[in-house]
Amino acid sequence: MARVEKTNKLGLVKDDYQARPTTLCPGCGHNSISNQIVQSAFDLNIAQHQLLKMSGIGCSSKSPAYFLGRSHGFNALHGRMPSVVTGALMANHTLKAIAVSGDGDTGSIGMGQFKHVIRRNVPFVYIIENNGVYGLTKGQFSATAEEGLELKHYGRNEMPPIDLVLEAIISGATFVARSFSGDKKQVQALLEAAIAHKGTAILDIISPCVTFNNADTSHHSFPYGVKHEVPLHEIQIIAPDFVAPQDEIEVETYEDGQTIEVSMHDGTSVLLKKLDKDYDPRSKAQAYAVLEEAQREELFLTGLIYYEEPRPTLPELEQVADTPLALINDRPSKDKLDDIMKSFK
């Protein structure tokens, strides 16, 4: 913090990637994620005007006001961010978008849009800041709360949790990861890969609500996450024009046969160092199996769960012009209208 101010390739300091001060609770997991977004954007030399920040409604969805102050943003409606992102990116498909949602915003009211935006493969980073509760409305169970969770005002949760990673995969997402807001290194690596991905990239990040759901035993609490997180792999991103600033991880430390290299469309490589499991995120069958096991055994597995060579994105399918639609300023000619009118006579 007290270091000399470092500038990135755009000549910006990290502070230039900040925005208004957070109004979330001190210690809220969402704040760490905002910080990771700032860090990643700085590291990746992102030109902020080429990025959109989008969100729904919730504590999580407030957070885009607290990062990337030079990016256009839209704090939309509860559960409806995906449709708004879709439209915004159709208006200008040359932009990137980072969207933030909550588990209530995505898993409850937003379930339909979540599934369908993935199906359309709208190219953006979809972050779910998952805390198992409705923070902003003061601590009701969300649809990702584990069965048996007890909360102060709302008693015991009797419903089985929704697994948003599994949901994303079966909806056709080509980049799906789970992480933990306390695991900054992993969050940042995944973020960087997700931004490079050409398609909907889903990041389900367990992000504790320190005010309403932070008991040691709660599956979405900070202590639980620290204690139980099992990363499937260590992740290192090797971008064609980018060297990761965290010099702690070195490519060489990964031994042969111990890594999986996932090459992305834009030349970025995601290097996964196997840890506990012999897990290849490029197999849907393995993904189903490992998630089924995680669910059954209540394991908190993190990492890049599923990756697939991306399908065409929605703007591609629609054969959208290279120039952003927003900047097209013409109408068909008068001749064309006259011809059509003749056909009606």
């Binding site: 208004r20 030109a47 902020q48 005007h49 080429q50 959109l52 920040k53 885009p64 006001a65 102050g69 030079r70 990016s71 256009h72 943003g73 839209f74 704090n75 939309a76 409606l77 409806r80 995906p82 449709s83 708004v84 992102v85 879709t86 439209g87 915004a88 990116l89 159709m90 208006a91 200008n92 040359t94 932009l95 339909g112 849009q113 369908h116 359309r120 929605l314 703007p315 629609e318 054969q319 959208v320 012009a321 290279d322 120039t323 952003p324 639609l325 927003a326 900047l327 097209i328 300023n329 013409d330 109408r331 068909p332 008068k334 209208l337 006259d338 059509i340 009118m341 009606f344 006579k345």
Partner: protein, 611 residues
């Protein structure tokens, strides 16, 4: 136009020939192919130069339920729905009894001879058609027989009422997009029936057609296709939608003309996305509007209800986008295939909290086209959602129209700052804020995502905000914003289509109406005049109401507000917005699911005036 009253209330039993001034009702089954035969009838009359309308009264069903098609020919150019139809084509067993019962005295029934019909009436003329026999003779492949059966009544009608067979063939060709093979197959059946009728039927009714010159230069088109064309020629970039009757063909037709929106690389400058529901469709066009695209959707009542929350967001975050409501009969799912003007009040104030929306009210294909491109301009100029409320009658029926005029001006994109003009703005005003009102017209300057300027970004939101677009819970900020929005709506009035007024200071009765009641209004005024009741007329073409409406009201002793919904919603809006003494304003409403008739207007006003 010469005043020549329709014969609705007279009986047609005298033998004086009635030429080019009567109506048909064709009763068939949904999905039986009668759409084509009816279209051929309409187009043939049109091509004979006879002013005509055709209205489809169809069930919410794909195949098998009763459907009626009414065709009116009017040498005087009246194209409103006719209350009575002199010629009844009864081709459906399920409705034949009622169809015959509804035939006016002096009328004609043309029916399939294999239908079980009720005992014969002696005040109407019957013409049985031996459909099976004719189809047996017809040179048509088995697979197609059922589909072309209905052509038999076309042939019979052509014979009985003197239609030009060349014109009929030409109309068939048009109908099949110039493809001769199917046209010929159908023509064979028509010819067969025509010849059979010539030999076997004794003409004993007074109705006939005669070529005239009443449609020269005109086109026949549905309002939905006009809306689609207007949108494409209005430079729409992005359409998101969810299918719902009767709005579906708006987007289908935009698809049809999408090829007009290709750039030099052959890529499209217009994208169309079928959303998973109306909430998503609304969200998408709002996102696109925020992103700087001209965006629109088309829906109907249930979809509109679902869009309420998003419309409130667009209003409050000031996002340009266009919503077409092709109204059908509500409340609720209601009657999806019946027309209505019942969403007016709901649209105008759509959303919780204090909100108001611009609504354009087209009355014809010409206006559907014009309002389509203008709505995109208005939305961007006013930075607000704009609604266009058409209806099933305009949207799905073929209307006679003048060829559309090419938009007179280039696209109006409203107040958008690019990097350069933003720099200038900041120089002039010290700073830029998305909702600063430097022009005192309530409209701020916006920037688009992607603008390469360190100060270009802002955070759009549905929450309370100050002029810098920063979240605020301060009462002053809230009120300042609401006052600016009110001013903006005032400004908007200058950008909306002007109402159309026919005023003469000597008349004390004023009629106010809107939308597709227009043809019935025109006809009814002539009729009333003939009956000694003269009236002025103002047709509202946009909400919020402008001052001329209130002036018009104040200049009359009696005002009738005439509309096709149950509650008299325009009348309600007039009362809400005009706080003058309105005791002389009377509401006449219908709302039975059918297009309005002149007769209903005339009767309603006469009842009031003779009270």
């Amino acid at each position: 136009m010469a005043v020549n009253l329709p014969l609705e209330q007279e009986s047609a039993t005298d033998s004086k020939p009635i030429v080019n001034d009567f109506a048909f009702s064709v009763a068939t089954q949904n999905g039986s192919g009668s759409q084509t035969s009816n279209a051929v009838l309409v187009r043939s009359l049109f091509n004979m130069g006879i002013p005509v309308n055709g209205k489809n009264l169809f069930p919410s069903n794909i195949k098998g339920l009763p459907t009626w098609y009414t065709i009116r020919a009017s040498k005087d150019g009246y194209v409103a729905r006719r209350f009575t139809t002199e010629i009844v084509v009864a081709y459906n067993q399920d409705t034949v009894t009622e169809d015959i019962k509804n035939t006016p005295p002096g009328g004609v029934v043309i029916y399939r001879d294999d239908l079980k019909t009720p005992p014969e009436r002696d005040d109407i003329t019957y013409y049985p058609v031996p459909v099976r026999k004719l189809m047996k003779e017809a040179n048509v492949a088995r697979a197609f027989k059922a589909r072309v059966e209905n052509m038999t009544y076309v042939g019979v009608c052509a014979q009985l009422f003197d239609m030009d067979m060349d014109v009929v063939y030409q109309s068939l060709l048009d109908q099949f997009g110039g493809k001769e093979k199917p046209a010929q197959m159908n023509m064979d059946v028509i010819r067969l029936a025509y010849d059979w009728a010539a030999e076997n039927l004794i003409k004993s009714d007074p109705f006939r057609f005669e070529t005239m010159n009443g449609t020269a230069g005109k086109i026949l088109i549905t309002g939905n296709e006009a809306a689609a064309l207007g949108s494409v020629f209005g430079g729409v970039h992005f359409v998101a939608w969810y299918p719902i009757t009767p709005s579906t063909s708006v987007v289908d037709d935009i698809h049809k003309y999408r090829h007009l929106r290709k750039d030099d690389d052959g890529n499209y400058t217009l994208a169309i996305v079928q959303a998973e529901d109306e909430l998503a469709a609304a969200g998408m066009i709002i996102g696109a509007g925020f992103g700087g695209a001209r965006s629109m959707t088309a829906t109907s009542g249930p979809g509109l209800s679902l869009m309420s929350e998003f419309v409130g967001l667009a209003y409050f975050a000031e996002i340009p986008c266009v919503f077409w409501d092709i109204t059908r009969m509500g409340p609720s799912t209601g009657m999806p295939t019946r027309t209505s003007q019942g969403d007016l009040l709901f649209i105008h104030y759509l959303g919780h909290g204090d909100s108001h929306h611009i609504v354009l009210l087209p009355a014809s294909p010409e206006e559907a086209f014009e309002f389509a491109w203008r709505s995109l301009d208005i939305a961007e100029e006013m930075q607000t959602p704009v609604f266009v409320m058409s209806d099933l009658d305009l949207g799905m029926n073929n209307w006679m129209a003048d060829p559309f005029e090419y938009p007179s001006e280039p696209l109006k994109r409203g107040k958008v700052l690019d990097a350069e003009s933003l720099t200038k703005f900041i120089k002039n005003h010290g700073k830029w804020g998305r909702y600063m009102d430097v022009d005192n017209d309530g409209v701020g300057y916006r920037t688009l995502p992607g603008t390469d300027h360190p100060n270009a970004a802002y955070f759009a939101r549905g929450t309370g905000h100050n002029e810098m677009a920063v979240y605020s819970e301060r009462s002053e900020d809230w009120l300042a914003n609401m006052n600016r929005l009110r001013l903006k709506m005032e400004t908007a009035k200058q950008h909306l289509p002007q109402n159309i007024e026919d005023y003469d200071a000597n008349k004390s009765i004023g009629l106010i109406s809107f939308g597709t009641n227009e043809p019935a209004m025109v006809e009814a005024r002539d009729w009333l005049k003939n009956n000694g009741i003269e009236s002025n007329y103002l047709r509202v073409r946009a909400l919020p109401l402008s001052k001329d409406v209130f002036d018009f009201i104040n200049k009359h002793k009696t005002i009738y507000v005439i509309e096709n919904n149950f509650d008299g919603q325009l009348d309600q809006i007039i009362h809400m917005e005009c706080k003058d003494n309105l005791t002389h304003v009377k509401s006449l409403t219908l709302g039975d699911g059918l297009p309005m008739t002149a007769r209903w207007i005339v009767e309603s006003i006469e009842e009031q005036e003779t009270k």
